[in-house]
Symmetry: D3
Subunit: 239 residues, 6 copies
């Protein structure tokens, strides 16, 4: 798996998923925000990492007694041990949050192993505990029933769908208090750079707006004066 | 746009959407509560104002490049500048929260302009920032993708649907920590007056219930004694 | 109604809905977690009690003017007075949260009467007030419109569906910050006992995982060493 | 159960569900059309009868092995034998069509017993066979899994919800190729009479429109001439 | 309203909505097929015409008694009389098929007036009658309740959303047995021309495939031989 | 891929999906019927074959221009050429029918190659043409937009989810006019045998019921007389 450039990782730590979505939109990518997934708790700072994936299919009763977890090679447990530090663990749960994608023990293990975060388009069990762990976690809603009630882990690190978004192993994944966005790895550097630039401008605009300035001509800066003021502000602010 | 009577505005500031819904129900209006919309954060106090509306239709890709916002007359941006202070900015997003109805800069501008609040039956981007702004804001769920991904702003201040409710420009809109209700402007004064009366009675009932009294005969006050006690309580409480 | 064994009640106070779901799964019960229902506010400690039920059907306009509540035998009001202390009040709202299942006055009355909690697969009105009451309450989402807008209370303490789960009067009901699970009363003692045992083991595993131990061979404890370590830990921890 | 007046039954045989809905709407009943239910096959003529109901709750696995049907008093089987000839068998399946409400053998038995039709807001199994039986049947979609996979029959002839409509035992039920409408029994005679009158007028309007006449002033007949023409047409047509 | 070029209209009569969607996709238009709408009955031949629109908002009970239709300028009735012959009448029903968008009398009037077809993203009442009228009609599902139960007609011939697609007045609309697609009017000529060409090629491919030829190298024709064979076939077939 | 035993294939040709579901239910398999999928047209006879699968993920715009199909190894096209005669082609479209899973040319190719049928939990384009082809085809609803609008074919013959059911390559798949059921291949022989036996009994019961016999004691045959009569009938009918 290609590693995210550390400078890019740092940049992605300081921009919002909303800004990233706009940068992606400009390149024709309209569908990179994972739909209907939210942080279990806002934890300060962004989640940033390369996508490492796990694919579930519907469970079949005879294949999924509680004893399956005794198999040391069970894909869910193996994936938790295989996911590289710094990566984001992404689960395709087919948008089914009626049974758990994972629980607090697995999330704790991922955290201890240095994984950057965990995302499912289903739900977590032990969600109150996971909310308190210092690792970002995103899901649809809490789901107490054990994983194998409805899910069977199958593939590790293949391309998946998650919340209606294509996730390819190694894609750059960014989460903030709003949600999670997936950036094709080949675009990560340029998206990160552009998002930082956009953020600087948006910070300027926000300041101006809060001082009472109209958005017309300012956002976007179709007035020459807006561009002059931004240049001056930027200089003053050393950004 | 007819302005809300200041006395009515004050009354609506001190009653709940639930009480207003009951007063509307008594007049045959059963569908005035905006469905599946919630405050980004409870901000204390109600949101009260006249409805000022914006209508979106689905975006068509060729009509919605990022450059559309360079048009100073773009309806979304124009609406933000046109919305009167004291009004509530209501957006018909066709209940689609897969792309943003608006973001923090526009909401900040509305706030600075003295607008009373903002409501969409879609979702906001920059929702963590909006949550912290001292202006009430209601949506379905966060939506980072830029507005023009799925929406095109079209009409300003026409009658719309929002969360399955008819919203006519100038209607009285009230929001609390529970959600948002729309009151036909012609009924605003009488609904406000009745809701205040109902609230006084409900405060009395709540006190009694917390003291251990049964609801039978008290709520509603079919027992003569309940009406006597209420009259006495009201006198004592100067309400 | 059979009363929950006090020892069982105590045990159920100290285990999670997730653990209970696994114990039920082992006995072939895969569908006991109430779907898409959440606490209005985390209130510390579990909700535990026997199920006492109320069944709603769709309201018909001519049968449900506001005056129905003047009937002292109206099933909603009667149920609130009949529900035994220590029970959980469970409402079948047909998963319809477009109008209220109940409001703060009825919930206050239940609380004062010593009821253990209230659950609906619809929504509560006055939800901000209910959130602050020291009684556990679970619903789908806030719903300001008065109950009779869409619901008519019909039957008291019959078997119902709630959030896609069968609820039989007298079943053991447990709620935590994650949600609500229903345990057939005949299984309550053994499920409680097993859940306590599972919790002890999960506490051990969590400690080990946070210390850096791999889950393979530990969870489940397929390694002999895991079982030895657990026995030692248990002794030390007096559990 | 009150029997439908034979003259009323005959009238209801000759009007559409759409016309009946309008007559109900004029009396403030806006929600009597069963939502998202369709005939398995158009069979010519209306289905008309008094409602006889069956209530399902979610199945619990331990209570619903295949052997439950060996109980001669099993509510599903008992209901099929108890439903009066001329009645419509209405099932509350909680709008769940993932498992069957009933299959062709039970529907055949109802047919042989002279039952007027069968309606579920879930789905039938053996739907191709049921489609060919000369008894009207309405459901949401085919559902091959056996009933007890997800449903447990509980109550016979209680008030239920079916497709979001309140169904009280003895209500008049009418089905045509469009769907199914429920008429409160107390209103059946007047609704039937009014619907017949409306149908006569709509037949006249349809003829006129097909001849090229504008709907303005004709439908509704706000032009005096429309009323004169209708009177003449009615005389000529002996209606 | 710009009229469709007669040659373009003829071409659109002879291609499928699927082929048109592909031609639109090549130009970056990915969302022009109206979602979840179907013909009441396959009627042979395509529906082709310019879009003429009607916008509904949610009905408010006090504004929508049955007497509203006595107003000769009621927008629903006026729209039916105003829609130009050859146009397609498109209704924005907010994807709500719980009450009717229109019934057989209005559809008959549109037919007699020479309108090319009618589309709603809600449902029609009198659907069995409409199915038999020789005018194409598309909806989501039958809906017997009268229009004003849930809808209020507001605007005539404004841009709308219909089945998640933007419909601008004057757009080219094509319906076949599969569904309905909307073509921006500026692209109608070139899309029609390209779709005809694509159809010729697809006819050739279909013949070859039915004779047993592999799709690899043929569809698309990456093999030189496929292009040679197509040229020969086209010559022989005079297309 | 294990081939279905020819005798088993023949048996599965003569039983219904409903009967198979019951046989599976008796073995604890409750979730084998593909949800919300229907035949494009009833074609007489069952579809029977081994599952051959294709997995889609969400399309990303930059990876899915129209030119992808020029790749001779594109998984969708390759799968169509690889699927063995006698197999059923099963597509995991993530229950998304907003763009096509496949169109008539690919289905024609599968038909010519001797494939037994095709199933998607999305939708087909060219559905009117596919409906007329003499190969069974099942989908959710028609979907004219080209496949790559929303789907990207990825894996061939891996385990998938289809309509909420686990489909393992080589499973026995049976479709009738009601829908599609998936039988784990290891159980195919015994399920087929049991289903044939059940069908014989159900044929007897149906005859008896149509003659007027009560279902009590007959279905299931808890009366000794029912079993005697069945034995006699079976002898007479040579089954």
């Amino acid at each position: 798996m290609t590693k995210l450039n550390p400078a890019t990782r740092e940049k992605l730590n300081n921009v919002s998923t909303a800004t990233i979505c706009t940068a992606l939109f400009k390149r024709g990518l309209r569908n990179q925000f994972i739909q209907d997934v939210r942080p279990l708790k806002a934890k300060g700072g962004n989640m940033v990492g390369e996508a490492f994936t796990l694919r579930y299919i519907p469970a079949r009763e005879d294949l999924n007694p509680i004893s399956v977890f005794e198999d040391r090679m069970h894909p869910q447990r193996k994936a938790v041990e295989d996911c590289p530090p710094g990566a984001v663990f992404m689960i395709d749960s087919r948008k089914n949050s009626r049974a758990a994608s994972a629980g607090s023990i697995l999330v704790s293990r991922l955290m201890v192993r240095g994984v950057a975060g965990i995302v499912t388009d289903g739900g977590f069990r032990d969600s109150p505990e996971i909310a308190e762990l210092p690792i970002p976690a995103y899901h649809n809603r809490p789901a107490a029933p054990t994983n194998i009630t409805l899910h069977q882990a199958l593939d590790i690190n293949v391309a998946i769908g998650c919340g209606d978004v294509a996730v390819w192993p190694g894609d750059a994944v960014v989460g903030d208090a709003e949600g999670v966005v997936v950036i094709p790895i080949a675009l990560a550097d340029e998206i990160a750079a552009e998002a930082v630039e956009m953020t600087v401008f948006e910070n300027f605009v926000t300041e101006e707006v809060l001082k009472g300035r109209s958005i017309i001509g300012l956002y976007p800066p179709t007035d020459e004066q807006s561009r002059i003021d931004f240049a001056a502000w930027r200089k003053r602010a050393h950004r």
